[in-house]
């Protein structure tokens, strides 16, 4: 009888009890608690639930409450119904911000997908220096967004732009390009920077997906008479679709709620023409102090993102079922 404590009670009569140290007893009791699945599940889940509750659920509920109230910095909240939402909807800057967010998300995601796919396919081949390229490709993703965006802001700077200087010296342009001083240009600059920053994520994820595709399939397809493009279209793309859907949705969520990049690059300017929902919500809610209105603006993101996630889940389920 090695284990008089945990052993069956039935054999207790024959057991010569050699009492272990109290420390060992406690340890065994603890081990026994861990054997209890319900208890173990509870112990493992609690930290997550607490963290999610404190940093996601509570702020979210507060946000919803704020959006329905007239709270501002230093003032108590009174319930005002949907007034904040109506006001935002009638605000032309809000509409611009909503439109900008849509354009920004749409094009940035398309560019990231196209370029990321292209990079992934290149990196899936064997060539000299592949590892170096793969590592350096991750740089835009690793550098903190604020830092890299600062660098980009300098490159787009009205006075010191290295891009303008280069193009001018090469004789491509005669006057400076208004990178950030024209609203339309500025939004496209932001899309470019977002693409630059987000492409590695696409490339790495799609590359992981590509590597799961058996090379025999490509060989079989090339024997079947498919050229490079047809092999991509009939073999690679369909097999990569589940991965693609997941990264695209991830990217849409992140891009749609993007804040740092615009905040650093244009601050929403010139003349509020490049605001996204997140930066405008920040401007109204935090900078101006109208917490209720800011909360309402940011909540406009919710239904859009909800739809995107719902569509993704539905699509993936269909793929799995097929």
């Amino acid at each position: 009888m090695k284990n008089p404590i945990a052993g069956g009670a039935g054999s207790a009569a024959r057991v010569e009890v050699a009492l272990p140290h109290s420390g060992a007893v406690r340890r065994r009791a603890f081990e026994r608690l861990l054997e209890n699945e319900r208890l173990l599940a509870f112990a493992l889940l609690t930290p997550t639930v607490v963290l999610l509750g404190a940093f996601i659920a509570y702020p979210f509920v507060m946000g919803v409450w704020f959006s329905l109230s007239d709270i501002s910095v230093g003032q108590p909240a009174h319930f005002v119904g949907l007034k904040n939402f109506v006001k935002a909807w009638n605000d032309s800057i809000f509409r611009t911000a909503f439109w900008n967010t849509t354009v920004y998300t749409f094009w940035a995601t398309i560019f990231k997908l196209a370029l990321g796919m292209w990079l992934a396919i290149i990196l899936n081949r064997h060539f000299r220096g592949k590892r170096l390229v793969r590592a350096s490709m991750l740089l835009p993703f690793i550098i903190p967004t604020v830092l890299s965006t600062f660098a980009w802001r300098w490159m787009f700077d009205p006075t010191f732009s290295v891009l303008n200087w280069t193009l001018y010296k090469m004789g491509v342009i005669v006057t400076k390009l208004p990178f950030l001083s024209n609203g339309d240009w500025a939004l496209w600059c932001a899309i470019a920077v977002n693409t630059w920053r987000g492409m590695p994520f696409f490339a790495i994820t799609l590359l992981a997906g590509l590597q799961t595709i058996n090379t025999d399939l490509h060989e079989a397809a090339s024997l079947d008479g498919a050229n490079g493009w047809k092999r991509f279209w009939h073999v690679t793309w369909p097999l990569l679709k589940p991965v693609t859907v997941v990264v695209v949705v991830f990217s849409i969520i992140q891009t749609f709620s993007d804040f740092q990049l615009i905040y650093v690059l244009t601050g929403g300017g010139p003349a509020n023409s490049t605001h996204l929902l997140a930066t405008y919500a920040y401007q109204i809610g935090v900078a101006t102090g109208l917490l209720g209105e800011g909360a309402a603006i940011s909540l406009f993101m919710l239904p859009v993102l909800f739809l995107v996630v719902w569509a993704q889940l539905r699509y993936l389920r269909k793929l799995e079922g097929a």
Binding site: D216, L217, E219, A221, L223, G225, A226
Partner: protein
């Protein structure tokens, strides 16, 4: 329908010389099997014919075209892969139709050919399924079907049966043979399984370390192996090898080692004259040994001690110790032998093989 010619074919990777000076003429409608241990260059050779590997040196001709610089799709060949390589997102029908679609065949023609192939292979019921809903044997049939709908000039098989379980493998082997008889298309088949090679091939090519060791009909390889490697590779259980000395006594040549002394049979004696006093390798197939009877001359029999008895039903394999070596004898199932029994075995003198110790070539 076409012949395939390989002329001085070579494949070099950075550090590995995988295929060395392969010369092979595969005739129209012939079923040729490339066989050898892993890394012998057989798959690489096949892949060069397919166009999936670049050719480092030499020339491949399919039909009357040199195909060295032709992409795989223009070589008019079809290949069956070891892991089937079915497109997982397509139905069985689409898998089989894909090659025809890519070649812009009209739809009715595609349907006709797929139906035809499905009938031959008995997979009509499966056409609407996806590959992952199929068993291994069914997948293999679809993979073969995908190849035959194309009516190619040459079929290439890259170890197509090695992912199947033993029973299914035997069954598919028979089906492939029947299929080849029916389609009468030139086929090159790669395997590491010598039984597959022997049963399927009109001719078998044994390869090792990138070199062709011998090309011949199955029974020719079995009875007249060109060298020690082929002798040991073809046949199961493998041929026994013993190192022996060639000695002259009483006006005859003898093969001599501890525990064994047999007279050199007359037809061999002439060829062995030059080896007098030297050591050579004696090769005896397990099936060429039997329990000695009073009819067996003493010159061709010897004593052996039983070490392992493997009763297989139709025969018994005895691992026996002869002098210093252990050899396998394949004896009649009526033989009753126990561990450590002392037996007297006899060999068929006209069936022994002898090999030069240095060159390993058959003498």
């Amino acid at each position: 329908m076409a012949q395939v010619m390989m002329k001085d074919l070579n494949k070099k990777y950075d550090e590995v010389h995988a295929v060395k000076d392969v010369n092979l003429h595969i005739r129209d409608k012939e079923f040729v099997v490339l066989v050898g241990p892993s890394g012998c260059g057989k798959s690489t050779t096949l892949r060069m014919v397919a166009g999936l590997e670049e050719i480092t040196g030499g020339e491949i001709t399919i039909g009357d075209r040199i195909v060295n610089d032709l992409p795989p799709k223009d070589r008019d060949i079809a290949m069956v892969f070891q892991n089937y390589a079915l497109y997982p997102h397509m139905t069985v029908y689409d898998n089989m139709a894909f090659g025809l679609k890519m070649r812009k065949f009209p739809k009715p023609e595609i349907a006709k050919r797929v139906q035809e192939a499905a009938e031959i292979l008995g997979i009509q019921e499966l056409l609407k399924r996806k590959p992952r809903q199929l068993s291994g044997g069914q997948r293999q049939r679809v993979a073969v079907g995908r190849a035959i709908v194309r009516h190619p000039q040459v079929f290439l098989f890259d170890e197509p049966l090695s992912n199947l379980d033993a029973k299914l493998r035997v069954q598919m082997r028979v089906e492939l043979k029947r299929l080849h008889d029916r389609l009468e298309t030139t086929a090159i088949y790669v395997t590491h399984d010598q039984v597959e090679a022997m049963t399927l091939g009109d001719r078998v090519v044994v390869m090792k370390d990138g070199w062709i060791q011998q090309v011949g009909e199955p029974l020719e390889l079995y009875s007249k192996p060109a060298n020690r490697f082929v002798a040991g590779f073809i046949g199961s259980p493998a041929m026994n090898f013993m190192e022996v000395a060639v000695a002259e006594a009483n006006g005859a040549l003898w093969l001599d080692t501890t525990g064994l002394r047999v007279k050199v049979p007359a037809p061999l004696a002439g060829r062995l004259g030059a080896y007098k006093g030297q050591r050579i390798t004696l090769g005896i197939r397990p099936e060429d040994l039997h329990m000695a009877t009073s009819n067996d001359p003493a010159d061709y029999s010897f004593d052996a001690i039983v070490e392992v008895v493997e009763p297989l039903g139709s025969e018994i394999l005895l691992d026996v110790k002869v002098g210093q070596s252990v050899i396998v004898a394949r004896v009649d199932p009526t033989v009753r032998a126990k561990l450590n029994d002392k037996l007297r075995l006899a060999l068929h003198p006209e069936r022994v093989r002898i090999f030069d110790n240095k060159t390993e070539l058959a003498i």
